[in-house]
Symmetry: C3
Subunit: 664 residues, 3 copies
């Protein structure tokens, strides 16, 4: 798949007549679309009656597209089981947390753990893989579509039994579950696994362990479905397999992608939310390291459904998205969708062509993307992203813990995005890495918002620090056990022992009563916080007001050749942002981070490396233009003109590609 830089669209030829399909292909060629993703909602076209499967339409379309220079990512159609699977079969349907049984309609209405669903899904996927798996135009597979985008944990009877199996497997005997969860609180002790309920309607909150474990169970189940489907495909096809994921859904992406071949995701962030767009690039590049990720869906203009609607991107932003994502590691940039839906629930969603075959409001921007793609294709294909020296831990399992325990409406994604922005704003190149990623090559590691840190992770990070790395832990990290209980040996359990800094107590800080000072800045402190004894380390941040005044909220301690830095609270507001950015800069300097620039906020530098050395792709994201200092002279690869060392300006949504002369 590294033969080219892909620019594509999601396409539903099964919905249109022959004439329209021909028009589509013609315009795709004009536009420069070189890949389409097809088939993910087409189960009823493939198997209109139960057992009568015919996927020849897709076989022909893939071939025909290929003949027109357009390659295909083929999907399994499991998000939308046909009416014959669901009609009169409430036991096959998804049941939500209020115990409402879903009816047919919309998507994801069936329980993906239902054995009949699994059986029929295996059969349709087998047929597709067998029939299409060897087609030359087929360059990859997508499983299903946005697993768990509309639903979270299912509460059906099938899931109840699987839940008991999962628990039995995890705990062996019920006594171990009772002990691990601390079920003796509120007399919740179970006598058998069969008694453990699903966290459905109850007068008040469920036990934290029950809520979190049910989420982890559900995440494992959906991943096991993906495993099962991928295994089928691999019997018939060598094309790599992916799934269009998201950090927003109830999925453990690290686990989900373990058995898939490349990482992909969908993103519909608006320009105001450009940092969320970049966060995704910096994360998904690391979900399957060494392999380009794909953006399988993004809107050419705006996202919308019958009941919601965003607004079109400003002109130029789409190109900035495409270039920045290619530069940050993307191998494909695809729109949802090629041609506006004629019917259904998303008829108003932004597309490349309208339902009547005319250019939409986003069309010119799509053309601009294609021009840019051609511009940069060679340099992207001949280089790879430079690994960052600074990493930030990302965990979807932490997301589950925070969903169980949001304290005061906390949202994992909001917290993570905000912290990520602090690093982004300093101009330091960064990787967002799942917990399982090795720490080789990093000098600085941030681990905020991970309530439960595994022993494996702590040992890995400890070794990283011992070897000279700086590990900055917190806030909201380490205070919960694997079972979502409180440690009883000390506040932060194994983390605390490893860090060697005593946690005095934890409590909710609020931005009115609590302030703290660090790096010369006084800022409000918020979030569930830990304060530390400073005896065994250096205090870098001290609580100045509120109940814990005088105690430390930010400490550091030598750890082998490196350091462990404990951040117990979240500086908030503008002052808090400044304090966090000062923290990042302070330790970046100490760690001698070199993969960085002084790029102005709103513009990014994506460093890449090839046979000719270092290349910077510089992109203005905010439409206001920006600048960066080139540390040495280089060549503009798009114009072939040389650029002196020093300040380089980039215009609104402009991109520049600079090859440094002397950099290896």
């Amino acid at each position: 798949m590294r033969r080219k830089l892909y620019h594509g669209a999601c396409y539903y030829p099964e919905l249109w007549d022959e004439e329209t399909i021909q028009q589509d292909i013609d315009i795709m060629r004009e536009v420069g679309v070189n890949v389409v993703r097809i088939g993910e909602f087409a189960w009823s076209v493939m198997e209109p009656e139960e057992g009568k499967i015919d996927v020849s339409f897709f076989k022909e379309i893939i071939t025909r597209l290929y003949d027109n220079g357009i390659e295909t990512i083929m999907c399994t159609p499991t998000p939308t089981p046909p009416i014959w699977l669901s009609h009169g079969r409430p036991e096959r349907m998804h049941v939500n947390e209020k115990r409402e049984v879903m009816g047919h309609g919309s998507r994801q209405h069936a329980c993906t753990n239902n054995p009949y669903f699994r059986k029929k899904a295996a059969i349709i996927t087998t047929s597709i893989a067998k029939e299409l798996g060897q087609l030359r135009g087929l360059i990859g597979w997508q499983l299903d579509n946005e697993f768990k985008c509309h639903v979270a944990e299912c509460m059906c009877e099938t899931c109840l039994h699987l839940w008991h199996d999962w628990l039995r497997n995890r705990y062996g005997v019920i006594e171990r579950l009772n002990e691990a969860w601390g079920t003796n609180v509120w007399s919740e002790t179970y006598q058998t696994f069969e008694q453990v309920p699903q966290p459905g309607p109850a007068p008040f909150l469920h036990h934290a362990s029950l809520s979190t474990m049910y989420q982890l169970f559900s995440m494992e189940m959906i991943a096991s479905f993906a495993d099962e489907q991928a295994k089928i495909i691999r019997c018939y096809s060598d094309a790599p397999i992916t799934h269009n994921g998201s950090v927003m859904f109830s999925v453990d992406n690290e686990r989900m992608f373990r058995n898939l071949d490349f990482a992909s995701y969908d993103t519909y962030a608006s320009q105001e939310n450009a940092s969320a767009f970049l966060l995704n690039c910096d994360l998904w590049r690391n979900l399957k390291q060494g392999c380009p990720f794909w953006i399988l869906e993004t809107s050419p203009s705006y996202a919308a459904s019958l009941e919601s609607s965003a607004f079109p991107h400003a002109d130029g932003y789409l190109q900035a998205e495409a270039v920045s994502s290619y530069a940050l590691g993307s191998g494909g940039f695809c729109y949802w969708l090629w041609r506006q839906q004629r019917s259904g629930s998303e008829i108003s969603h932004g597309s490349v062509l309208s339902a009547w075959g005319e250019p939409t409001v986003g069309y010119q921007n799509v053309l601009a993307v294609e021009r840019a793609r051609k511009d940069i294709e060679q340099v992207i294909l001949s280089t790879v992203p430079v690994q960052a020296e600074a990493a930030m831990t990302y965990s979807d399992r932490a997301k589950a813990f925070i969903k169980t325990e949001p304290h005061r409406g906390l949202q994992h994604r909001t917290l993570v995005t905000h912290f990520y922005e602090r690093i982004l704003n300093t101009g330091i190149h960064r990787d967002l890495i799942p917990e399982g990623v090795p720490l080789d090559g990093y000098r600085l590691l941030f681990t905020p918002f991970v309530p439960y840190l595994s022993s494996d992770f702590i040992q890995k990070a400890s070794a990283f620090a011992e070897a000279g790395g700086i590990w900055i832990v917190g806030p909201l990290t380490g205070g919960r056990s694997s079972e979502h209980t409180i440690h009883t040996d000390c506040g932060l359990g194994e983390l605390e022992k490893t860090a060697g800094i005593k946690t005095l107590f934890t409590f909710p800080m609020n931005e009115v009563a609590n302030t703290g000072k660090a790096f010369g800045i006084t800022a409000p402190l918020g979030l569930w916080s830990a304060v530390f004894d400073t005896e065994n380390g250096n205090t870098l941040g001290t609580v100045e007001s509120g109940p814990a005044a005088g105690h430390a909220f930010l400490t550091e301690r030598k750890h082998g050749k490196g350091k462990i830095v404990m951040l117990g609270s979240l500086p908030s507001g503008k002052k808090g942002d400044a304090m966090l950015e000062a923290l990042v800069r302070h330790y970046a300097a100490e760690a001698a981070i070199s993969v960085r620039s002084d790029v102005t906020p709103g513009t990014i530098v994506a460093p890449r490396k090839g046979d000719n050395g270092l290349v910077w792709v510089i992109v203005n994201m905010d439409g206001k233009g920006g600048s960066v200092t080139l540390p040495e002279a280089g060549t503009d690869l798009l114009t072939n003109r040389s650029e002196k060392a020093g300040r380089l300006a980039v215009g609104p949504h402009e991109y520049r590609v600079i090859q440094f002369d002397n950099h290896s």
Copy 2:
């Protein structure tokens, strides 16, 4: 019913003892109440045990009231089926969109499509019609009460089967439904009609066609119940039949009133919302043209229930309501309710008398209404409303489309009221007309917020324009097919072809990023918008900023002797209001609209016509006073003094009745 101008109240004699009834009648006579509406919640009094029907109480009360000069509108009591119909019978109950089965209590708890309900409703109505149908005091019938005021579409099993029948009737074969709806999106293709679900709980949005068609089905069903009931009454009574409708409920009023005899409605708008009050007058006058409409319910002071409460009208406003509605075509003005309820869910609702028989806070205002009624009765009875030259299309079916597809929380009523206000503010007399009303006599037609325009309607409006009318279409009009899908030939389908102006693309504008200029005014643009190619017409409004800058949002094109004007977007904010009002004035001038005045906003002119020529009833609604220019000299019919041409002032809540001297 044209013998007098009715002033009445809703009355529940079945709830009170003999002594209280006598007191009520005595005070009604004092106050001047000459009509009551009775019986709509009295089923259990009429049929306390299943099959034991006795309506003699109502026979006697109607006679007794008549003997006291008070006529009666008798209701069928079907909104509140007795306990013997519902107890232990969940299958007879209404089921809401969450599939909650209603219990007994409140109102509208039974499914009006349930065959047993229909049977018992037919029996009770037969009894009432037979017993009371010939009474001299009986001047009209009201069916049920506020159909669908508390409930929307029912999801019970009965409705499921009727739904399948309705679909079978509409589409014949399932393939036609699949094609019409485009069910191949998301694999929703049905194999049989029996598989088509009701739009109950689902993980995400239902298909647009399913949602909209289920609403249209439900609207037809409730109308068919009304048809059935009316047919029974007509076997035994010649008195005209109505229903107290509302634009707020899930009813297609145009369809509902097709088989009824006169139009009536309930309104509880507060003074701040006086334009909603006037909108109703201008609409319901046209639901059964040529026949006075009735306001069957309005509060003498304030609406309230156990859980909600408005505040009393300012003194004088009730009289302004009464006079303006009589002048705009009302034949009756009735309060809900005469005597405060002693018990139930509406014990705190405003009334004429308190539960203990004393005047309420609204009482003096009721007396003022009666004085005004007497004042104007003669002139109202000897004249009829002048037909407006400007009309605005009103569609409850459009309401269903917008409920399915609210884009960003759009509400049909809010949109329509706001647009209506723009016309109202210009002083142009206006009709709000259902889609089926002929366009004879109009010069200007506005058709905003009708996503689906029928071919019949387009042809009628096209003929209207060809003959010299100006048809101003949009915003949000014409972009959806009859099945709630997107056109595939061009953006606005048949409308676009008829108008001859090409729609370039559609997209959501927002008030921050998009502005447009027309009539010298620059205003924000919002709403789901269409922009136009200007090649074949004149551009009157151009987008000035945002993604479609430079394109037209307002165009006109000659169409026969007239014009079709396309309004693609909604100017918003104060500037937007000014732009829309400029648009109205511009085309009113072009169309040479003469039924208009320069009345100040907050005051209205209701033009009427009789043997002696033109009469203006001028009413100040906002309590601040106002003025209008009399185009020629006239006579004040209330004082018999002459008024010169020129500026005429009206005081707070004052009304004036001017007969013009030379106007035919």
Copy 3:
């Protein structure tokens, strides 16, 4: 229990190992904790398998604690029935108002009226009472925990049958119910008691009588459960019985505590809400008069659950709470909880010790409480609270009426707290008294927000006024009958006849349109209001604007030697507060209230009386310090220094204890 002033904590030794228990006891001794409450969630520990009961652990722990100087309040464990009671038994579970059947988990998931639950509850309580009832360390019993804190009325089948029994018992024949409720409105007439529904899902509001009576039924049922449990305990133990109640739950505390021995409650008010803390002291002192009440739960720092979190008290506030509550009549001040939960739903809740055995953020404040407790123990034990001369009626049944009929989102607790603050701010010592408390000794009685006033209450208050008292009634008082219907003889029924002031009409006032003047202050008026005829009394407050302008909203009339004052509306905003405080001061002066001071707002004076005469405990609650005039010289009992008459300052959160020299 008057041997000492108790300072304690809720403790869950069943959750911890032996070593931790020993640590807990050691630290309790250090801290000075002299009482613990245990056992309320321990059913599964006591009866891990159905029928296998063993409470020896608790027997041992009570003895062991006692040996360490710590006494125990033992609980019945009925809020958390074990899994063997609920698993596979939906018919035993609580069903909420949406008819959702609760699953196992959380608390209060079983229906407390289920006969099987009742049977098993009786068995476990019998075992506990028998085994532990005679232990020396056991000083009291707590029934269950916070009845109805998570659930309101249950809608299960058991409750349906009990409901019918309750109705049959109340009304005898169905005709009486129909008449009393006025069910003929909306055809809701019932033919048999079996037909009367529970107020579950319905299209619109249920009948007021149905809603209110179902609440009263539910309140009686939970009290009957308490009666049943208390009766069992009394067979085996002489220790007094209480329950930890709250004004926030769906319980009639006056009824609940009728058959219990002393009053207790839980409170988690924050410092900003200190008046709610004081309100509770002034109320619960009077629920079982003559007997110290207990605060069985309050946080040493902050309340929190998985999904919510308050913030820690400012340092010093906990001590102010403890001292003020002891001074206002508390015999015990207990924390929830001693040691942070390791698991469950409340792992983040503030505690004395952390889950790992270290001091928490609240620890120092707990030590401060203990120092204060020792400081004041002698004076508290040798004195009793002085009865106030001013009382305010408190009714949980009124709470039910207002829940049924909130008008515009009214909340009983908010209304009552706000009115109470007006009295508090004047420095008048006050009692909040349930309706059944005799009025002996009072001179001033306020009765706001009691929609239904019983005939007994009216007669008692009338006699109170006749004997010279001043009864200030309203707003929102007396306008509803016992059945939650409207009076039909006059607006306020028996109250109106007793007061001799005619209510003209009632209606909703709003703060924009309505103002009134009294005591020289003009203020907005709000709330559902009554206006009065002034013929038979003095007008003290006149409506100045809005529909009732010119009528009285505040009147007084001589009643025997005293007065009845009718307050028809609620003055609102800052001016309204000032008007209400002027009203309180005016009548306090007229009634010659002497148990009062001029203490500054934010500081309180708790007057107590002993053999040595009058003692004032003065406590600053708001952390800003304050002052009060000592009317005569006294002695500071904490320092033994004399204090001159005149101004006495108290520092932030400081407390002073002054024994007056000459006061008897």
